[in-house]
Amino acid sequence: MKKHSLIIIAFLFSIHGFAQDAKTILDKVDRNMSSKNRIVESSMTIHGKRSSRTLTSKTWSEGFEKSFSQYLSPAADKGTKMLKLEGQLWIYSPSTDRIIQISGHLLRQSVMGSDLSYEDMMEDRKLNDVYNAKVIREEKLNDRNTFLMQLTAKVENIAYYSQKIWIDTERFIPLQQELYAKSGQLLKRTELKDVKQIQGRWFPTTIVYKDMLKQGNGTEFRMNSILFDQKIPEYIFSKAALKQ
């Protein structure tokens, strides 16, 4: 789950623009957000209709294509691992000692009752590769000045036809993102909060996802520690690592 969140973040942070202004802005964002690799310890809180629950995990990722996460708590999920590699997704569960591949329509299901689908977490293309971007206007969002950018799909095989992204004008990090259907119907909203400086870069450490068609209070993703540009052994991103 964490892992998906990370991917989404990575996704968000890989923003590139086409329009002159937009491109510059997204480039800066990209520089600010991307790193060779990172190791994140995080907690995710899913606000269900009846109760909320929190999972903690540790995730190693390299670029947008490779990631490996391991759940630390709660007890029921401890030891569950997820591997994303070459556009495929595997889940390992220690209780069954099985590696299960998530594919086909299963990718379209919601992950653990959260407001994210597996597919959301699998998206690993850079924004500038799949969207045309332009700045609509500058706007104040939670006391920060932002560029409001409009992204429109330029490729066909994409889940969300258009997006709106609010980029901090000073720190060049995204603060809010909205995902739209072709018709313009708002489907999902992501808020990025608690921006902190880590290893010399500004980084939002809390992300709240909300499926706008669903009742509920969304899913909250909080990064407790982030390490950029670490030495990550290559075997981590292999199926063999899942069973270890």
Binding site: D97, R98, I100
Partner: protein
């Protein structure tokens, strides 16, 4: 005198045996038919009750609103104490815990990685408790195509079409992958104990049946249950009792505004069952009425015949100086005796046959090419209290009436004529 008549009946086979057999057969057929109609008409209702609605069913209010979607996140917590309470408060019913769920079944290759996977719907029922009624209720024994019933935790049944699609046989293992009650990922390994076929295309193409303890662990639903259906122990659905039960139960939770508080509904409240029940009852009543009518006429006739057989005997008895009134009275007594004997025997035979068919069922598999979930091949009779008198009363009454009518002839003709009719 009764003793005397009884002796006569026993010794004179011609005047007793055949009439008694006829009465017995007629009564037996009626009892059997009554059981059959009650069973067959109630069958779709009972099928629905067995698999889905129960005679009454307790769910959380929130679950009840969307129960078609199997929203286990809204399931009843504290189901075990609740079931104990239900068992205690309403001991006339058999209360069971169930979880209906959907998920994915994943079959491993030799390396433990995904070989094939497919979506399933599932029933978690009590398979292992001693005295569990659920195996019978789900007719699992008859539904098994290959393998056997699960006998220990970790074993499950999957439907046959699903099994053949994925080339799975009993003994193979699979992982159930689903969603826990609180939204997490659920995994659990199972061994295929057997494959079953219910005959419903939708179910057979992908369903799993496992023990509730296993599924509770898998779905993080310890002490929770999606549904708690209750079944009247003494037979089928009884609307009056169910209504009283429901009102009584729901009153206890009236003050509780929690949307997860338990709520009881009747079979009647589910999916338009109300009209079906009404019609089934009316149809059953008409059928039984026609049959009882028919039997009464047959037995009346039998009584008449029984009386006619004995005109010659009456002639002799009149000649010997017996009074007409006395002869007539003994005739009626004999009719009553034969009717009673025949009806007792017939009711016993009919009840035993009905009971046999209630327990074993009549496999109509040859008559129907294939069953469906809603239309089981195995048709069962059902014995209700009515079965004990539905044949008996008309049996005795018709016999006496027949004898009475036949006996009128004793008065109509004079002694000489009657005697002559005998011509010994």
């Amino acid at each position: 005198m009764i003793k005397f008549l009884f002796k006569g009946i026993l010794n004179d086979k011609s005047r007793s045996l055949l009439p008694a057999i006829v009465v017995g057969l007629g009564v037996a057929l009626t009892v059997l038919l009554h059981g059959w109609i009650t069973g067959a008409l109630g069958d779709s209702i009972e099928m629905n009750a067995s698999f889905n609605s129960g005679h009454v069913k307790v769910m959380s209010r929130a679950y009840a609103r969307d129960d078609a979607q199997m929203p286990n996140d809204l399931a009843l917590l504290g189901a075990d104490p609740l079931v104990s309470k239900l068992k205690n408060d309403y001991p006339d019913l058999d209360w069971v815990r169930r979880i209906r769920f959907s998920g994915l079944i994943d079959f491993p290759d030799e390396k433990g990685e995904t070989r094939a996977q497919g979506p399933v719907i599932g029933w978690a029922i009590d398979l292992f408790s001693p005295g569990s009624t659920e195996i019978v209720r789900f007719k699992l024994q008859g539904a098994i195509l290959n393998g056997k019933l699960p006998s220990k935790p970790g074993e499950a049944l999957i439907t046959s079409d699903f099994a053949s699609k994925f080339k799975v046989k009993p003994g193979d293992s699979f992982t159930l992958f689903g969603t826990t009650m609180d939204g997490g990922m659920a995994f659990r390994n199972f061994i295929v104990a057997g494959t079953v076929r219910f005959g419903s295309s939708v179910v057979d193409r992908g369903a799993v049946i496992a023990d509730i303890t296993d599924i509770r662990k898998a779905l993080g639903m310890e002490d929770a249950a999606g549904e708690i259906p209750g079944y009247f122990k003494d037979g089928g659905y009884n609307d009056t009792k169910a209504t009283a039960l429901m009102n009584d139960f729901n009153k206890k939770y009236q003050a509780d505004k929690d949307e997860y508080a338990p709520e009881m509904i009747r079979l009647r409240d589910q999916g338009g069952m109300a009209e079906y029940l009404d019609i089934a009852n009316a149809m059953g009543a008409i059928m039984v009425f026609v049959f009882v009518m028919a039997m009464s006429i047959v037995l009346w006739n039998a009584g008449l015949l029984g009386g006619l057989r004995r005109y010659s005997e009456f002639g002799i008895r009149l000649a010997l100086g017996e009074e007409k009134k006395h002869i007539y009275r003994t005739l009626l007594y004999e009719g009553l005796l034969i009717g009673t004997i025949g009806s007792v025997v017939g009711t016993l035979v009919g009840l035993s046959a009905s009971y046999y068919l209630q327990v074993v069922g009549l496999d109509m598999g040859d008559m129907m090419q294939r069953s469906t979930l809603m239309m089981p091949t195995l048709v069962r009779t059902r014995i209700t209290p009515a079965a004990f008198y539905i044949g008996f009363i008309p049996g005795v009454f018709s016999m006496v009436l027949g004898n009475a009518l036949a006996g009128i002839a004793i008065y109509k003709r004079n002694t000489a004529q009657l005697f002559k009719e005998l011509e010994v």
